[in-house]
Amino acid sequence: MTKKSDISTPEGYFEDLQQRLNAIPAAAPAREPSKVRRFAPYLAYAASLALLVAVGNFILRKSTTPAVAEDPYWDYIAYLSDALDPDGYWEDYPEQEASLSNEDIVNFLLAENVSLEQLVSYEEGY
């Protein structure tokens, strides 16, 4: 079995075909490659560079600054937790607490005309 003997073509078909195909450029002028296609490699380089800078910047910021530091929400939460913490509140006045001794309190009460009997009865739990 020969491979191409089973199909025939009209006489001179391939010469005619070549002529018709060669006429294509005259009928359909070539299109210049579009500007986007021409600059595509440069655009790709620029986009890669921009992506690299953005990723680098993100990683740098992530590794040097706590994420919550600049967030006003977390500032507010920190303020509230300080205000509601009883230990924290009293720690703001340590000197005042230390300066009031029992003697100071007794002297203050005596100056306010509270009798010694009354002070003793308070002390004993009446």
Binding site: M1, K3, I7, S8, Q18, R20, N22, A28, A30, P33
Partner: protein, 169 residues
């Protein structure tokens, strides 16, 4: 004549006849092959400015031709379905009534058996058996590995042997 036109005319001179045979085996019609070849060379002309030489010109042109042909067949399949027919039946009819078919009954059986192959096996068989392309060339055109092509061709041969009364191999 521009440089592009010179290259195009050289492509026409070198490949038009071989490509016509390639397309003809797929569409089984002289007129359809003629129309399709015009379309293919219009595409080649339009795409020539973007050809970058990354592949061989031969591979590039052959790839355009094969893709266009397969797209054409897919459209034909849809059109046949819209007519409540099937492309395989219509193709068999074309082979049976083709005025340009001068072969024997066995060759007609072979053409019909190729129709029944799945698309990839049919593609490999046509390119290897009738177009005389090497596996490496077919691989470059289709993007399929040589091993997979050999396997497809072997399966296609087995199916054809089973379908044709006198083995062509």
């Amino acid at each position: 004549m521009s440089e592009q036109e010179k290259i195009f005319n050289q492509i026409v001179k070198d490949y038009s006849e071989r490509l016509w045979w390639h397309v003809r085996r797929f569409v089984n019609s002289h007129e359809d092959a003629d129309d399709l070849l015009q379309e293919i060379f219009l595409k080649v002309w339009a795409a020539l400015p973007s050809f970058r030489g990354e592949s061989q010109l031969f591979t590039w042109v052959w790839r355009i031709a094969t893709n266009e042909t397969l797209n054409h067949l897919r459209k034909e399949k849809v059109r046949a379905a819209l007519r409540f027919s099937s492309l395989d039946t219509e193709m068999e009819h074309r082979i049976q009534t083709d005025p340009y078919f001068k072969g024997t009954d066995v060759e007609r059986e072979l053409a019909k058996a190729v129709l029944k192959l799945p698309e990839k096996q049919r593609q490999v068989f046509i390119m290897r058996w009738w177009d005389d392309l090497s596996y490496e060339e077919i691989s470059a055109i289709t993007g399929t590995s040589v091993g997979a092509l050999k396997a497809s061709y072997h399966i296609a041969q087995e199916k054809i042997r089973a379908a044709v009364s006198e083995s062509p191999f």
